[in-house]
């Protein structure tokens, strides 16, 4: 006979394992639904709360930015120049995810201790519409008033730059492997069956869809919801036929370097970095033109020490300080006068069209227009259905 005691214990073990399995599964599913409730109401719409400056900036300021978006010296230099203490955190990885994290706080009028954070145009617009951002007191940022580049002064979502100040700008176009796909020059070329399964598109709707519209001959800045849906339909077709291999964020980098794909829709700053690793990688201005975007510094509601936050904005808009950041990040600077400084110190960079694009270079480029909340929901739903097919 088998020892029944041993047997019973065995059965109990199996049961316990089973229960654990079910709990784990439920847990996983619960995880997917994410952090729970309490997502009610926002601040007032278009409530124009304004930053109240309080004399000379002092104390501590907390700044949230994207990773690898600043050199190592600027923060300590700023602290030395102003006597402020800076807590610089790199916790913005994705606009939508950052929004998901901040939204419950912002809707309560809190910023989680952040005095300033950096988000892309459309997200700044969305937060603004929800009443999560403060208007700036322009008397605190004279350098911005003086040095902000002309083309960035009147974007559709913030015509007078009342609540946003660009941190860096960039271009979305095509990145190709010169050795594998020398003849890709336009967005339309990406739909060429020759490159079937060898092309990645971006998951970022406001980059991918307007570029495809350009291929269709539609001006994204004047496009209606119907044009967006038509472009999404075209992308859907290419996805279903296997033309598009996958939709990525900047993880297209690994596909490009390993040769899994030969061309992608991608960001200019990435290409500058990737080119160093593999000289066959090149960013190209699509013949249809590119998409232009900026990441913006904004001051959220409930931000502690907004006076110091404005001092920071002002500081990084002094050309010599901006030049120091620019030499490290390789995106497009929003500050006038940096190019002139580079011409003396690093003439190679000053000539690079990806860092200092000339007006003729970006002539055909567009800025994604702001979408209303209901349009946004409809379009993201349609686009995400393609991403998730």
């Amino acid at each position: 006979m088998v020892s029944s005691e041993k047997d019973r214990r065995g059965r109990q073990t199996v049961l316990a394992v089973l229960l654990a399995a079910v709990a784990l599964a439920l847990d996983l599913a619960a995880c997917g639904g994410g952090g729970g409730g309490g997502i009610e109401g926002g601040g007032g719409e278009e409530s124009a709360e304004e930053v109240k400056l309080q004399g000379k900036p002092s104390g501590t300021v907390t700044i949230s930015n994207w990773p690898l978006y600043i050199d190592k010296k600027t923060v300590p230099d700023f602290e030395k120049a102003t006597g402020l203490t800076v807590k610089y955190i790199e916790d913005v990885n994705d606009n939508a995810e950052f929004f998901g994290k901040m939204q419950p706080l912002l809707s309560q009028g809190e910023s989680g201790g952040r005095s300033l954070f950096v988000v892309t145009d459309w997200m700044a617009n969305k937060m603004r519409q929800l009443g999560y951002l403060q208007n700036l007191d322009k008397s605190g940022i004279p350098e911005v008033e003086k040095n902000l580049r002309g083309p960035l002064r009147h974007p559709a979502f913030d015509p007078n730059r009342d609540f946003s100040v660009p941190w860096q700008s960039g271009m979305t176009g095509i990145i190709v492997r010169k050795d594998l796909a020398p003849n890709v020059h336009s967005i339309c070329d990406l739909f060429d069956p020759k490159y079937k399964g060898k092309v990645d598109f971006l998951t970022e709707m406001r980059d991918t869809v307007p570029l495809v519209m350009k291929c269709e001959g539609v001006d994204p800045e004047k496009a209606e919801a119907g044009d967006w849906l038509k472009a999404i339909e075209k992308i859907k077709g290419a996805a279903q036929s296997g033309q598009i291999r996958r939709f990525t964020g900047n993880d297209y980098a690994s596909d490009l370097t390993s040769g899994n794909v030969v061309a992608v829709i991608g960001w200019s700053g990435d290409a500058v970095q990737l080119q160093i690793e593999n000289p066959n990688i090149e960013w190209r201005m699509p013949t249809e033109g590119c998409m232009l975007w900026s990441d913006n510094m904004v001051i959220p509601v409930g931000a502690p020490n907004p006076t110091a936050a404005e001092a920071w904005m002002n500081y990084v808009y002094e050309p010599k300080n901006q030049a120091q950041i620019e030499a490290y990040v390789n995106y497009v600077t929003p500050v006038e006068g940096v190019k002139e400084l580079f011409e003396k110190t690093e003439p190679e960079l000053a000539k690079n069209q990806l860092i200092f694009p000339s007006e003729s270079f970006t002539k055909k480029c567009s800025i994604a227009p702001p979408l209303s909340a209901s349009e946004e929901q409809k379009l993201t739903q349609a686009f995400d259905a393609v991403l998730n097919s």
Binding site: L26, L28, G32, G37, G41, A385
Partner: protein, 282 residues
């Protein structure tokens, strides 16, 4: 009196934990799944259409998730059983070393292991070239196909299958197998009539431990899959994080939970609760 309190006292850490981190969030998620509107102006109004919409919009991803998870579970079982059997009965002094080899991959995080697979299966890799040559990858690429996702799922959850099966095999009293031989069973008959039924609890536990997390997984589809390979976990992630459509995401999570529960209950019924409890062993 004191006797009655003790069990509750012992249960309390677990109970408090579950209530705080499972029941409460579940309640909020349930409430969220019945709200309507866009973020910032969500209101609770028993909006059941979140559920019907979730099912009608994403039915193909649900089916795909269950198919992928099912195939991965089956493959894992076919790989695990002989392996566990060998470790339990034939490994001798290598037993511990082999068990360690099964667990060793866990010293690296799941994410990194999946990313390693992404590199291993890239178009120019020797693995892909080989598979292409022998005709297993006619399109010339393995990444971004359903095969890659299923292979990733199988690999990642394999130890969850091996360990319970090993545990149940290891518990078997060898004298029972000897007895079957004494009673003129051939080796094969002995296996079918004695070893396999006795290891059934391990098989049931292993399949559940593999199937349940695999059905809700989104990492493998994210890195190894491409267009047309997205699973329901990816949909929930994107609804929550990129579309900020919390109500639909919550509704989908509940549907997934419900479907998995149903599948598990049906499976246990089918497999027989006796197998699960090891009743046949007695």
């Amino acid at each position: 009196m004191r006797r009655r309190i003790v069990p509750y006292f012992l249960l309390s850490p677990g109970t408090i934990w579950l209530v705080l981190f499972f029941v409460v969030p579940l309640y909020y998620m349930g409430k969220l799944s019945l709200e309507s509107g866009v973020v910032g102006s969500l209101e609770f109004n028993w909006n059941w259409s979140n559920y019907s919409e979730a099912l009608s919009l994403y039915d193909s991803q649900f089916i795909r998730s269950f198919v992928y998870a099912g195939v991965a579970t089956l493959l894992a079982l076919l790989i695990s059983y002989p392996l566990a059997y060998t470790i339990a009965f034939k490994a001798g002094r290598w037993r511990n070393a082999l068990l360690f080899a099964v667990v060793a991959p866990f010293f690296t995080t799941y994410l990194i292991r999946t990313l390693a697979w992404e590199t291993m299966l890239s178009d120019e890799s020797p693995v892909t070239k080989f598979l292409h040559t022998v005709g297993l990858a006619p399109s010339g690429h393995v990444l971004a196909t359903s095969g890659a996702v299923i292979a990733g799922l199988t690999y990642n959850f394999l130890p969850f299958m091996i360990l319970p099966i090993y545990a149940s095999l290891e518990r078997i009293d060898v004298r029972l197998i000897e007895a079957s031989k004494d009673l003129y069973c051939s080796a094969a008959q002995g296996f079918w009539r004695v070893t396999l039924p006795l290891s059934a609890p391990g098989i049931v536990a292993g399949t559940l431990l593999t199937f349940i997390p695999a059905a809700g997984d989104y990492v493998n589809a994210q890195f190894l899959g491409g267009v047309g390979n997205r699973m329901i976990g990816n949909v929930i992630q994107s609804l929550y994080l990129t579309q900020s459509n919390y109500p639909s995401a919550a509704a989908l999570s509940f549907v997934l939970m419900g479907l998995i529960m149903v599948a598990v209950v049906v499976y246990i019924r089918f497999a027989g609760s006796e197998a699960l409890m090891g009743e046949e062993a007695v």
